[in-house]
């Protein structure tokens, strides 16, 4: 079945540093979605990417979808304490597939 791998599992950064998490799929995806889960909370949808090579920005967050639609990345510029949480990518091959989530990257920020 479809597998979505995400690295790194944990990332410690100093406040103000940049952060990147990477997502790779074993199969071509019809779209990729990103979610954020705060400690003790539930995943919250951030964005969806659909087109090959697509890049989208949300303030300090930049999302990319690879040309082959098998990988994606999320980059946060100048992290803030409010960015703390686990970032999940999730992809689907389409059809009757549900979303397959990566295991997430836990972002820990040291003030």
């Amino acid at each position: 079945g479809q597998q979505v791998m995400q690295i790194p599992q944990y990332q410690h950064v100093q406040e103000g540093e940049d952060f990147t998490t990477y997502c790779n799929s074993s199969t071509t995806l019809s779209n990729i979605q990103w979610y954020k889960q705060r400690p003790g909370g539930h995943p919250v949808f951030l964005i969806q990417l659909v087109k090959s090579g697509e890049v989208k920005k949300q303030k300090r967050l930049t999302f990319q979808f690879g040309e082959a639609k098998k990988n994606s990345s999320l980059h946060i510029t100048a992290t803030q304490t409010t960015d703390v949480g686990t970032y999940f990518c999730a992809g689907t091959g389409g059809g009757a597939d549900g979303l397959t989530f990566g295991k997430g990257t836990h972002l820990i920020i040291q003030p």
């Binding site: 979605q33 909370g41 539930h42 969806q48 689907t92 979303l99 997430g104």
Partner: protein, 111 residues
């Protein structure tokens, strides 16, 4: 607009018992998805219901089952509970599988 609601918030069961978890999707959403989030294992896809039908299920044993009612609410049943079933069970709803909205989850503890 009310979000996705799940009940109960917490559930403690003894090994071998049955657990029933409930979910009400956002009004107008016909699809309901169930995920298991065990510690350190990310979100594992359990079941997808749409228009009252089971559309897909993840790699879980048959003792995990559910149903969707005419009002699109859903129920997840876990029979013959095992210790490793202890996890956060998340329900999500969506339109066209874009941007799942998750509920706050049910924390199931099996003792």
């Amino acid at each position: 607009e009310a979000g996705v609601t799940q009940s109960p918030t917490h559930l403690i069961k003894t090994r071998g018992q049955q657990a029933t978890l409930r979910c009400s999707p956002i009004s107008g959403h016909t699809s309901v998805y169930w995920y298991q989030q065990a510690l350190g294992l990310g979100l594992q896809f359990l079941l997808w219901y749409d228009e009252g039908e089971e559309r897909n299920r993840g790699n879980f044993p048959p003792r995990f089952s559910g149903r969707q009612f005419p009002n699109y609410s859903s129920e997840l049943n876990v029979n013959a509970l095992e210790l490793e079933d202890s996890a956060l069970y998340l329900c999500a709803s969506s339109i066209d599988r874009v941007g799942y909205t998750f509920g706050s989850g049910t924390r199931l503890t099996v003792v």
